[in-house]
């Protein structure tokens, strides 16, 4: 089952590059993620193949991330389909190895590599997969071939590659830490095996390993101050791609940090790793806060909001939060996906990303406006959306460690972000549409492009109102794994 899950996207990706018909490719683009989603559900339902002693396998943690990735991919693939149809280029054609073919292929490859990263339990394989996701997604960012999108892709590629290379040093250091004790020398470098024997590992090398891995994967995840590529990449790539990047890719990197942190916890240096995570988290919160204030580009705004939420996640892990962390990451993926898709719709309505010139979305298109509002309510942690719950439980986690200063700073940063963000959101959503932009068309009725965001919005709402018991169980068990329990 796992192999089917893993290989299908790769095969389909390569196939779609070589495919001639644009329609068939688009069909494939929708079908494969759907199939992937069904497979994930099936694996979850059967709970078969949950092995943790091999390099590739699925524990509950992977299943959870797999599920969210699959869901985001499935929903975004509809939007991608629409996007491709809209941007069809009749002259250049969409034949074999065309620009569009590569695009579609890379999306599927991205799905494949993401799945690989989630399913890999070996530190090396994980690293490899994560770097592969970077490579698969870089062409997606530069799809529009504008100077800006190329620049963004370049920065993304270079900075992430350097970051992930640094994480490789961390992996090496992990390996070195096993070399000191005879009992651990032959340990396979899988996350689980390392976690099991963590108390025998050399603490200094563990610390070095964690430092490198945190900075390395943190780059990919978007923690400040390594987040610099993120707003560029998110704002310049096509909106469905931004949704994918923010909804799935960062989660993969986060998974790496999570799993490494588990080793640290087991090794008894949790205090150290927690402190680092809290620091980076806080830094990310404040950094994104400053940049969100008076932000002039709404997709960059969303990018910085991702930085913010990665910071929250890092802090949550650092504070020893279990359930809240995973639930937050799930919620964030859905919500950010929703927001990016809506941002794409706004972009196509207004043809500008400037927050200053977009006003009166509610007048121009009520559905888009409502979704935009709902998305921001969700992302800023207002009920009845799920992030409210997860944020609250993260705060409880920080509180239970009696880190009052950190809690205060956390709340302060969230306050700054909230105030800055809503100033922009209110300006954009409400009011009268701009008069000077005669090209703005109004779209009172909901259209086909609203379907994907509506699905994501209802999912986010559902998670806030009621968590399906199987999912709740899954999250709970994953949280246990995360903390290092059996």
């Amino acid at each position: 089952m796992l192999w089917i899950l893993l290989l299908t996207p790769f095969a389909a990706g390569l196939a779609s590059m070589a495919m001639k018909s644009g329609r068939a490719r688009r069909f494939l683009l929708v079908c494969v993620p759907c199939f992937h989603f069904v497979c994930s559900i099936l694996i979850l339902a059967s709970e078969s193949g949950l092995s943790t002693n091999r390099w590739l396998g699925a524990d509950e943690l992977s299943l959870l991330f797999l599920l969210s990735t699959s869901a985001i991919f499935t929903v975004s693939s509809f939007a991608l389909n629409l996007f491709l149809r809209e941007h069809e280029n009749p002259e250049k054609g969409a034949g074999r190895f065309s620009h569009e073919a590569f695009f579609a292929g890379c999306v599927l490859l991205l799905l494949g590599t993401t799945t690989l990263a989630i399913l890999s339990l070996h530190t090396g394989v994980f690293w490899m997969a994560l770097e592969a996701t970077t490579l698969a997604s870089a062409p997606l960012i530069s799809y529009q071939r504008s100077s800006r999108s190329l620049e963004a892709a370049w920065k993304y590629l270079l900075i992430c590659s350097v970051g992930i290379a640094i994480a490789l040093v961390g992996n090496t250091a992990l390996a070195v830490s096993t070399a000191f004790d005879a009992a651990t020398q032959s340990t396979p470098l899988t996350f689980h095996a390392l976690a099991e024997r963590a108390d025998l590992l050399h603490p200094v090398w563990l610390k070095i390993a964690f430092a490198f891995i945190l900075v390395g994967y943190g780059t990919k995840m978007g923690l400040a101050p390594m987040h610099t590529w993120l707003p560029d990449a998110y704002s310049e790539s096509p909106s469905p791609i931004s949704a994918l990047l923010s909804g799935t890719l960062v989660n993969c990197a986060f998974l790496g940090i999570l799993r490494t942190n588990t080793i640290m916890l087991q090794a008894g240096v949790g205090e150290y790793s927690g402190g680092l995570l809290l620091t980076f988290g806080l830094l990310s919160l404040f950094m994104s806060g400053w940049f969100i204030l008076q932000q002039g580009d709404f997709k960059r705004l969303l990018g910085y909001s991702s930085v913010e939420h990665m910071g929250i996640l890092a802090m949550a892990v650092g504070a020893g939060g279990g359930f809240g962390v995973l639930f937050h990451s799930l919620n964030h993926s859905l919500t950010k996906g929703l927001l990016f898709l809506v941002a794409g719709n706004i972009l196509s309505l207004y043809r500008t990303k400037s927050t200053k010139s977009v006003t009166g979305i509610l007048r121009v298109s009520p559905v888009t406006g409502l979704l935009w509002l709902a998305g921001f309510c969700a992302i800023s942690g207002l009920p009845p959306f799920g992030i409210f719950v997860s944020k609250f439980s993260i705060m409880l986690a920080i509180g239970s460690q009696a880190r009052w200063g950190i809690l205060g700073l956390f709340l302060l940063a969230l306050g700054i972000i909230f105030v800055g963000m809503w100033r922009i959101v209110i300006h954009m959503t409400f009011g009268a549409p701009p008069e000077s932009h005669s090209f703005v068309e109004t779209r009172i009725r909901p259209g086909i492009q609203d379907i994907a965001p509506i699905i994501l919005c209802s999912l986010a709402l559902l998670l806030g109102l009621w968590l399906p018991p199987p999912l709740a169980r899954l999250i709970e068990r994953a949280a246990v794994i995360m903390i290092g329990g059996a």
Binding site: V162, L382, W422, I426
Partner: protein, 661 residues
Amino acid sequence: MSFLIVGCLLLYVFAGVIFILMRSYPQSGTMLAPLCSTLAAIFGLVPVLNVLLSRASINISISWSSFFAPIQMRLDPLSGWFALALFIVSPLLTWYGTGYFPHKRPFEVSINGFFFQILAGGIFFVLLASDIFSFLLAWEIMSLAAFFLVIFEHEDRSVQRAGWFYLAATHLGTAFLFAMFVLLGSRCGSLDFRDFVGLGGVADVVFILALIGFGTKAGFFGLHVWLPEAHPAAPSHASALMSGLMIKTGVYGLLRIMTLADSWPGWWGWTLIGVGAVSGVGGALFALVQHDLKRLMAYSSVENIGIVCLGIGMGVFGTYSMGPAAQIAMAGALLHVLNHALFKSCLFLVAGAVTHATGTREIDLLGGLQKLMPRSGGVFLLASAAVCGLPPLNGFVGEFLIYLSSYWSVLPQELPFVDLRVGGFVVIAALALTGGLAAMCFMKAYGTTFLGLPRRQHADPVVDPKPAMLFPMFILGTLCVAFGLGGSFLILLVAPVASTLHPAALIVAETSLLRGAALNYMHVSLASFALLVLFFAFHRLRNHLLKGRVVTSGPTWGCGYPLGTARMQYTGSSFSQPLIAAFKLLLRTELSGDWPEGYLPGRSSFATHTPGVFIEFFYKPLFTFVGHMALRVKRLQTGGTHVYVLYLLLALISVLCWSLL
């Protein structure tokens, strides 16, 4: 009973959904949804009255999600008292709302109706919630619903600004609540309020956090900045609900937290009295210099919250004397909460009617409305008198009790407790100053708006609103009189609530004290009633005497100047001028305009504007500073890839230093 409570919550949601669903059928929709909302209020009123009369409390526990403890709801006398106000006011406001939007598009109106019901239900949920999670949930739902009410007329830039102000203020305030509850929760190891007895040994910190967090919602002076922005922006019945009830949840939260403490330190009392005095006097002062009718009332809400706060502060001191002061003061504060909800809603409704009829809220452009809208004017007069705390209206009841307890505290005590006596003294001074300024303020508001001659011609004929809007105003006005004359019964009703508040064993003295106060108030009612009779008797007498004589009517005497026009009348701004002169330092009113010059002056103009002193001198500089900081930090994102990699490198180096050193 629990069925009724949950039913009430669900009915509110249901009413909101009906508003949305029925927007295509305006006729039946306008009837059905308010009916549903009224039913919700009736559903809620039954358990509330039951709780208030029997002094029992109702516990409900709903498991909702598998990982958080079940939602705990609890209706006890304290929450019941606040809910009573809600259930009296909210159906009336809903009915008023059906008549409020003649020209708006159905989409917005239905959204507004939806959030109005959600706000009402949310307030009830806040009152019920008895564990951290559900409380914060309810709190946020309530705040968010109110935001959508504020932003209703969003084409207006000032409304957008108001919405942002409100949202920012409420969120920053809620951050303090989050901190407080997380502190409590982790200290006590539980989410349930019942386990917070003693406030986990960090009572003082919790109190400060609660004061700021809840104070932002309640609108303590200094934290009130959103009120004067949000109230004018929202539709009138929404402002009424926000001002009458939503801000009271701040008071409720503070009381709820205080109730959980072991004892009340003296400095709590001083803080509350200080906050109350500043809010009362400051609110009244700033109310007086406003010339936007609803803005004026927003500041008046600040003032009234100050009065409530004074009462609570007195109640804190009272616990030290084991005497009557505490309970009477608390009862006074609670009564004022209820009464303020009534008369302030009433005032907002009339203000809405005025705005509707004339198209402006600027009182200096109005005038003479008493003749054009006699019914609304009468109600406004009644409610103004109530807000000034004049007997025999309901505003007097609460103030009477707070005064009484303060006077009692300045008497020589058996135990020499200086704080109590000085505290009482301060409360008297603050209350009296507040009362005088508030009276002046509402004389100005009523006098300028309704009396004299219209200051400008209105495009449409100005008439009383239709019955859907008029009747809720009437009912509220009637309640103001009834609650004023029957104040003794109210005191008896609030007695059990006030006696459950105190942490110490004050219940010993129990309700006999309040029974005494009720008896005292009975005198007030009787005297007032007698004087009312006398008033009508004299009125008849005068008319009787005039019957056979020459009664003519003519122009107002212009003191020798025959060409007086309506524009020469004393305006609201002139009315507040002496005050502006006297309190220059605090008010910082800006005068602008073209003064007449030369022997034959041309056109000249004059305008005053009083900015919020906290906005000007605290929040604006703060936000500007943060903005500047942001601009400075933004330079970090230079755009150069090599710089970004350098950041990465620096991060790596510092992390390595951290881990190895």
